[in-house]
Amino acid sequence: MAFGAAAVANGFSVLQACLLSLLTFSGASQFAVVGVIGAGGSSISAIATASLLGTRNALYGVIMAPRLNVRGFKRVVAAQVTIDESTAVALGQEQRGIDAVKKGFWYTGVGVFVFWNLFTLAGALGAQAMGDIRAFGLDSAVPAAFLGLVWPRLTGKFERILAVSCALFAIAMTPILPAGLPIIATAFIAIVIGMKR
């Protein structure tokens, strides 16, 4: 719901919002695209930010592939529903055997896909019917969604310091760099720190 509304609030059409949910199908990446474009960033910085956020799905695929063991079209479908939720549920079933892992992955992946897309459509149509999006708090829904997505990842002191540093860095660079770049730049902070640690 929040995504469909946020997309339309940032100038995307209902069709584009629905296509992003159907084809991109990765919450953080989708919010990033509409967020960066909405902030005045170029399509290139929007795609780059979303794609950097999407790299973790590749690693989930690496973890899931040997457990699912599927080929052809089924692998295409498996890849599309490889997201935070399906991977987390599948790995949570590990002690109950490989069948439970597969079941957890498919039910969660397909289930989230169906509901995510239905709610995107509902949210997009709802936002289209509104006039001033600020009167409905949609301008706050997007940063709140990002906060909700990052919150569970802040498991330790190091993660929290990184989060606050990147937030401050992005704010400080916003008046100086073209829109979108202050956000992408923080990914490189993460890469440098990850290499050193």
Binding site: A28, A46, A50, R56, S140, A144, A145, L147, L162
Partner: protein, 102 residues
């Protein structure tokens, strides 16, 4: 083609290729501990930056408005372990209230 369409299609194509590549490359390629660690840090960096920029700027100008209230309420909701939809909703409602009535 508008920036919206380029962003929609470009993001979708790359998102799928990333997912599919994970299912197709040998496990050892991406299982290096450093890659795993960087992979855990990138979303933290990008999402935190997005929170900040989306809350405190508009078209490259810094500003403080009703979104600060929305963000604070969202943070309180998260401290209280509220589920994701409630976090977003509470931010929207509080921000709308400030915008409409203050």
């Amino acid at each position: 083609m508008s920036a919206f369409w380029i962003a929609t299609i470009g993001t979708s194509v790359i998102a799928f290729l990333l997912k599919y590549s994970g299912h197709s490359v040998p496990e050892r390629w991406l299982s290096h501990p450093k890659i795993q660690r960087i992979n855990a840090l990138i979303p933290i960096a990008l999402l935190s930056a997005l929170v900040a920029v989306q809350s405190f700027s508009e078209k490259s100008q810094l500003m403080i408005d009703q979104r600060l209230v929305g963000l604070s309420v969202a943070m309180i909701a998260l401290f209280l372990k509220a589920p994701f939809p409630l976090v977003v909703l509470s931010a929207a409602v509080s921000s709308a209230a400030v915008y409409n009535w203050l």
